[in-house]
Symmetry: C2
Subunit: 347 residues, 2 copies
């Protein structure tokens, strides 16, 4: 697959190989800020969109074709796994995802099943096939999933959370039950990532979006352990794995033990992250998405600042530290891509 | 004042002097989890409570008298400063504080004035006098304020926030206007802390609750700089300053340059924090408040874990990493205090 790619900057940077310039893609690049996406989305609801392979492939292609990113990321949602495991999932307009029957007991956890990906998540695999056919090797396609801990938080809280009272109560009071849940979710994710890779994704990003709400000891026991197990169990065959996290200022050495790339937010200096990990991983990030609400000129300055910090270093993928905000002006995204392509030249 | 204290464990720990056991107080200890507080609060609204010195002193005393903490913290709110500077402040039941006319322009910032503390915040100073009279030297009294950056976020956003779009847009697009605002707020805080110290508080905690949403460079320019300036401008006369932060895993050395104590949340290991700061500051914290929702036995285990990490080290004040949750069972708080008093013996 790889030899056919016309633009392999992203994959070369993941492997810390030399590149002619820094590659760029951004989280949620196939999303609401883009008028072409809104045109598709206005006709169908969110779940129909990600469950219909032709539509998912269509919006996955848009940012690559319209804006010129160096990678495509499949349009989907991390919560398809809990849904396929048997948890009813609802998306309410403006309110985000909800599990109306969150997990609260051993019986709830016992009822979950490890899904047959080809049957129950066949629409994701079909979207991968369709997207790669349309991409025709123009840029690599990134698959993704949530981390075991992050998915567990949604499954136990029932949705987003501020204090994470339910999952933490489970952790403090019934740690063995939480481990059971994490093992089931990890088993489902191993199958899911293997299926995505067989279907043709060139890289995989695992979102540990809520890892940062744990203490370092609890992080190691309830998140990192399962991340390592998941990554070790995936049949990689050269497919790099990107470990997405937020707010982790310290302890990156341990995280760098299994993934090829760490995707970091703006609360940590990328140069410091490289230092902490002795250059053993590539780094992805880390512009603050709110910077994209400013003017094109300010966006260019902010991009330059990050590129200057990473000047001459291999293994940097330009990205935001978190998903792009829906009200971001497209001209600022264009300014960002142009700036990275202009200033990110390594030679 | 200090020589008259019957229990000076907290102040000795702030100064990293030897103590017979680890002292404990917890953030929001005068608050909703306590039935005695709810009894007072049921008769008056939140603003009347903190603006009425006899009532503020009453609820400040409750946790010390009922539960036996090693320090009292004045019942008040960090938003009294923006309010005294001229911003209308509302507390709506269940919704938290709001500034219905948030700052959005140079004119808005220009209209703010630096308040005369003795006149406009006389009720705070009077509450300090009354509390110290009732404490009669039993334990020290802690005063507090918000950091310049943290107050500015509320003043510009109009309340709590998830993305901090307005203050960050100001930062990216009109940094000089933000600096002007931070300078005004810092000037008000210098007067406020000096007045609190003259009125008799034994220590001061500065809450930089929202510092962690910034990149390291922006943190240094828009928060740390003003923290250092504030701390350097306060006439201390032996009163220790506690620098409260959240989520900062790295870069603690710089923060430790001016305050005596760093108050840390559970996302950083206290032992690592000591190492990073070469033992130059005392550390306060750092139990996760959600642990207090479990059972007394689990609370004891969690307390012991933290105490073991800090065993034999001077300069540790036991606390939560954030405010106590309103639905915390009082018996768990009692178990926590008992555990710290039992296991926290240094000799």
């Amino acid at each position: 697959m790889l030899q056919h790619l016309k633009n392999d900057l992203f994959l070369r940077a993941c492997r810390r190989q030399t590149v002619s310039r820094t590659p760029i893609w951004i989280m949620r690049q196939a999303g609401r800020y883009l008028p072409a996406y809104q045109a598709v989305r206005s006709k169908v609801d969110f779940q129909t969109l990600y469950k219909t392979p032709t539509l998912a492939a269509e919006v996955t292609m848009q940012p690559v074709e319209i804006l010129g990113f160096d990678a495509a990321i499949l349009f989907s949602d991390i919560l398809v796994i809990p849904e396929a495991m048997g948890l009813k999932l609802e998306f309410t307009e403006g309110k985000g995802p909800r599990f109306p029957q969150p997990l609260r007991s051993a019986e709830d956890v016992a009822r979950l099943h490890v899904p047959k990906i080809e049957n129950e998540l066949g629409y994701v695999l079909e979207a991968i096939h369709l997207t790669n056919r349309r991409l025709d090797g123009a840029v690599p396609l990134i698959g993704f999933c949530g981390s075991p801990w992050t998915l567990a938080t949604y499954m136990v809280e029932g949705g987003g959370s501020k204090e994470f009272v339910h999952i933490k109560s489970l952790m403090f009071q019934q740690p063995q039950l939480l481990h059971l849940l994490l093992e089931k979710v990890t088993a489902a994710l191993v199958d899911y990532l293997n299926a995505q890779i067989r279907a043709g994704v060139h890289a995989v990003q695992i979102f540990d979006s809520w890892g940062y709400v744990l203490s370092p000891d609890d992080y190691e026991e309830f998140s990192l352990r399962y991340m390592h197990r998941l990554i070790a169990s995936v049949k990689r065959e050269g497919v790099p794995i990107i470990y997405f996290l937020r707010g982790h200022g310290c302890g990156l050495e341990k995280l760098a033990a299994s993934a090829e790339v760490l995707s970091l937010d703006w609360t940590i200096d990328l140069a410091l992250a490289r230092q902490q990990t002795n250059g053993r991983v590539a780094v992805q990030g880390n512009l603050d998405p709110t910077a994209l609400l400013a003017t094109p000129e300010i966006v260019r300055q902010q991009a330059k600042k990050i590129l200057n910090k990473m000047a001459g270093a291999s293994g940097h993928i330009f990205n935001l530290g978190h998903g792009i905000l829906p009200n971001t002006p497209v001209e600022n995204v264009q300014a960002l891509i142009a700036a990275v392509k202009e200033y990110g030249s390594v030679d």
